[in-house]
Subunit: 378 residues, 4 copies
Amino acid sequence: MPKKIRLGILGGGGDSLIGVLHRVAAHMFDSYEIVGAVFSPEHEESLDFARAIDIPLNRVYKDFDTLITEEMKLPESERMQVCSVQTPNFLHFPMAKKLLDNGFHVICEKPMTTTYEEARILQEAHRKAGTVFAVTHTYTGYPMVRQMREMIRAGELGKIHKVDARYYQGWINPIIHDRSKRSTVWRLDPEKAGISSCMGDIGVHAFNMIEFTTGLQIKSLLCDFNYLYDDNQMDVDGTVLIRMDNHVKGVIRASQVATGEENGLAICIYGEKGGLRWEQERPNFLYRLSDTQSLQVYRPGHQYNSELALDGTKLPPGHPEGIFDAMGNIYRGVARAIRGEAYNSGEFPTMTDGVRGLNFIEATVASHKGGNVWVDLD
Amino acid sequence: MPKKIRLGILGGGGDSLIGVLHRVAAHMFDSYEIVGAVFSPEHEESLDFARAIDIPLNRVYKDFDTLITEEMKLPESERMQVCSVQTPNFLHFPMAKKLLDNGFHVICEKPMTTTYEEARILQEAHRKAGTVFAVTHTYTGYPMVRQMREMIRAGELGKIHKVDARYYQGWINPIIHDRSKRSTVWRLDPEKAGISSCMGDIGVHAFNMIEFTTGLQIKSLLCDFNYLYDDNQMDVDGTVLIRMDNHVKGVIRASQVATGEENGLAICIYGEKGGLRWEQERPNFLYRLSDTQSLQVYRPGHQYNSELALDGTKLPPGHPEGIFDAMGNIYRGVARAIRGEAYNSGEFPTMTDGVRGLNFIEATVASHKGGNVWVDLD
Amino acid sequence: MPKKIRLGILGGGGDSLIGVLHRVAAHMFDSYEIVGAVFSPEHEESLDFARAIDIPLNRVYKDFDTLITEEMKLPESERMQVCSVQTPNFLHFPMAKKLLDNGFHVICEKPMTTTYEEARILQEAHRKAGTVFAVTHTYTGYPMVRQMREMIRAGELGKIHKVDARYYQGWINPIIHDRSKRSTVWRLDPEKAGISSCMGDIGVHAFNMIEFTTGLQIKSLLCDFNYLYDDNQMDVDGTVLIRMDNHVKGVIRASQVATGEENGLAICIYGEKGGLRWEQERPNFLYRLSDTQSLQVYRPGHQYNSELALDGTKLPPGHPEGIFDAMGNIYRGVARAIRGEAYNSGEFPTMTDGVRGLNFIEATVASHKGGNVWVDLD
Amino acid sequence: MPKKIRLGILGGGGDSLIGVLHRVAAHMFDSYEIVGAVFSPEHEESLDFARAIDIPLNRVYKDFDTLITEEMKLPESERMQVCSVQTPNFLHFPMAKKLLDNGFHVICEKPMTTTYEEARILQEAHRKAGTVFAVTHTYTGYPMVRQMREMIRAGELGKIHKVDARYYQGWINPIIHDRSKRSTVWRLDPEKAGISSCMGDIGVHAFNMIEFTTGLQIKSLLCDFNYLYDDNQMDVDGTVLIRMDNHVKGVIRASQVATGEENGLAICIYGEKGGLRWEQERPNFLYRLSDTQSLQVYRPGHQYNSELALDGTKLPPGHPEGIFDAMGNIYRGVARAIRGEAYNSGEFPTMTDGVRGLNFIEATVASHKGGNVWVDLD
């Protein structure tokens, strides 16, 4: 008789959008109960938020270290089982590391760390801990992305020879062209945002989607960024040439100045026997292209769907599910893993995805700064 | 400091899809706590389901009457505040009536009752109770439907002169053409499903969408059903000519034999100054048509959206929300109403919508059986 | 060794859009040569237009009767073989009749006549003449409409049980709401435009598409018009309930006040085994719906296309052809018929289509004026 | 009083698809008369084809040199004014050169020559001749591409900072994976097809579209090809990083192994004030993106269209025109230029476009073979 999994939340309080996304996802399959949190660095704000969402106050701790200390005092049957890390990026690494070191399962927002080096350290900590670790590349939770992955694994495209992924947004456009604004936005400050803006925030999703859906690894890349202005030090746009296996090539395009684009992640995979196309803004449509047959449009909830895709669909065909449902699917996969139930390796992105992502981001910067040269990934 | 609203659930246990939809919606804005339920007519099944979703068992009652009796014994501060009725259709009326008579707020699945007469009785009970009553016409919770309503109320289309709504599904197609199957499906058995299959189940949604978005009332209608076979007594398809105000006309089309259609609800409203088109299967796109300007595509989450539409959007533009989010918006509106907070009249469908719906369904049957004659609505 | 067919043109001069459409179509497959014409009632205008498009002037006649007289004097090997009638509607009948009576082939714009009675007379004249007669229901010339027809004939949808066709335009909207304008537009003057505006001009195309693609005949109909204003005597909007064979029903919707709609002809056909959907404004996409399989999108130029569809496609897949190409296909079919070559019955609409169309238009008026009663077609 | 322009055709006989496209385009606006031709290297085939399309035989010459010799003997008032070169690629240069040297106007299929050097020579010949020279980058003739160009010229996007163009086809996919096939296809034989397959055939269209619509020039590029197999020497896929002005960057993607893609040319232009997107397979839709306003969908034939776009539209909104119409628009522009009438510089692509194209193609090869280095364009 399953009890709800005891979930702790780090960050995600106040007006946090990511906080809403995680809480709804956690509740979606009746699998988690929020038992404790540090919603904010200000304890009083944490408590206020706990009251606002009507969470018991006794395990709303004043800071992360106290949370660890106090939770470790509780008997294992009461202790938090998993913590969801939704804090600013630079805190992901120290928090995730300490959680792993103390035997917690972890759900970690993306990027997993701010450097590849940290990512490798975290990977080692995870290896020792042996707990469940998920990185929330949310888009992998969409049923049609899962369908894509399963079709490719089943060989429906034959040998893949070309990949093309795009993530276009336009939100920095109204900022970047105004010198006073661009000097004050944290995203464009390397001290606060790390080594990359565009590629680190969204390009990495496109990268992850390619590896997630194809099961192949990108071997090397050549990247060109666009900063738009000489006094801007952060990439707001970039294109990455990629090489996978022998003679398999592709391109990743990412932009934060694709004016008017909203959240335009899209991926196309082409193989000997067919192609597949998916777009995040119309997530319930998957297009199968063929040399000889009519275009086919796959939709969720049908018997022709793969088991993994169907597992990620709660309602019959024609009832659109969205990004909350995608995140819910990831949370459910993590719950199954924590409970030791059977699950598909595609149910949630893992430590490996997180490590690969940081490897990718640093490689794009190295390639661009090196004069658009080819850089190998590990 | 808001406490979560104490919610009781009637029905929705086991594999019920509608049950999942309501539970996720209830949790979506941290506004409700499930405190009791009768998930199933079999008490043991109810208890099993409560264990499966990890709900306390002490208020999982053996039947609806016991729920009422026992809850009324509790102090008001502990008693369920609102019950969500998700049972088979014929139970909606007696349950909703008794809930109202005992002072509960009610969230009632659609159709509100099985006859117009019951609906009128329930309306009177509601008038006496003075509590909050919502009918879950879920589609009205989509941000772009709310946008449509607000644009029309703001006069952006000018005087409306034509409406066109469609709800096409195909799921009965594989059943209706097989005599053995069609005689055993409860939906096609008037004893179990009431006087109408297609118009009662889905046509009424199209009807509701017209009245919800335009704020106008349909005055009279002429309907033609299709039964497809002489031995089938239930409509599986139908078209309804409608008349609203002076010289305002339109059409409602509904089908369960539109082969291959999934859940094809769509609505077009045309007025002197422009038109609006929305489709349920692509809910995050709203099309504004004009005689003189380019077609405009409205999307959720933008500053150009109406307040009511923005209120129903949790994430920035480009992050697709779906039907769970639409239902969540309705639950939030009900929560605000229960708490006495300010809310927009478009946040949830009310008793009036429920009553109108039954009036519509019975009028379509009367028109068809009367030989496709015009029938007035009250 | 084929010589170009000798073509005469009636009307279509000056700024006439329909004239351009016919001339381009005639030239499209190198099959016709324009040898004579009466482009305009004013002879000098006719001559000017002939000069503008560089046509020999010697057979540009002063009026239609002269054209007949003079052409009949020519030896058969020089005489016009076919005349294309593009004059105002009321002239279609007398011209077409005289052409048939003198043994010419005829390509006639739609509507073929202004009354059903005339249509029947013309049908008889055609029977006697034994020449080729085509009515330019242009939309039937699109490859994907031909594909639709052939798939249905091949039984791919099984027994059809529901049809739904729409033709929505908005162009009268800016006129109808202005009393001064609506009293001066010839389309809204029954003396000039005949008994119907909306149904006669565009509804009849939707009607034709249903009969053309399904091969079935509409047996009876019930129609409701909308005039919008009491002082307007012409339908600008209407909905038609239709009955075909036993238990096959459907609906035709037509409007000239669907604000902002351009030329929105669309047709959906549903049968036991599947459905088909096509839209005129995206003519190179044909959607095949299924209960059990993914949606399929048929495109022109592929080997999976029917012979008739492929015959109507000049370029490889992905090179969009449009309405000029559709008309070109019809002209080519007529050329084949005139030359006595083999052709498919779907290559051009015939006298029967013209007669049926007039029958439909008059039936809709009779139904509406009779109080929305069922009216049988012959 | 305009006489039709006397047109000669080189190539385009037999089953040639490009021949149909040019002939229909030439007839579209009643502006050209075909007076002579060399349709095929075999004179008898040329004559047969002339008979099939019913062209006078007396000026169907046995070869190109004879055509020049004989036409030059005719008085200028009878002589061909313009020749349309539709022969295999390697003949474009010698024919176009000799035509220019003898004072003819030229319409030349793309690629204009097989090398950049030839292109420069031809440019010089054209400078001397002073006649009209058009390269048939057909896609520039679409009304919505013209609209794009005019909106950008009018400053509606503000300063442009990013461009993204794609041309994806899949037709080589079934060939490339079969060693026996790939060694026998002329497109993959450098002796016959020149230095590039994919970039030379279709990538150059994407390049041209960027320069045509933005009015900006690409300064340098970095290219990576994919050959897929070691024994294949011709690019069948490639990605090109491009740099335009200071801080303006972009990407061109082209493929002949994008399995199942038909003729997927698409272009996105992003500027400070907005973005524009257009796709060749849905040519009558132009999307205008904005940071702050709803997406706008421009359609042809409306008063809000630019003059140049409207000039390229023959019918009212909603009547789809296609690629034949796009080519027709180019032919009309050339006719106006030949007649010395006023025309817009966007009506047809010129010698400059041809020269730039060859510069681009050779630069991509140089970049790839140089190890993916930046190569400047002239």
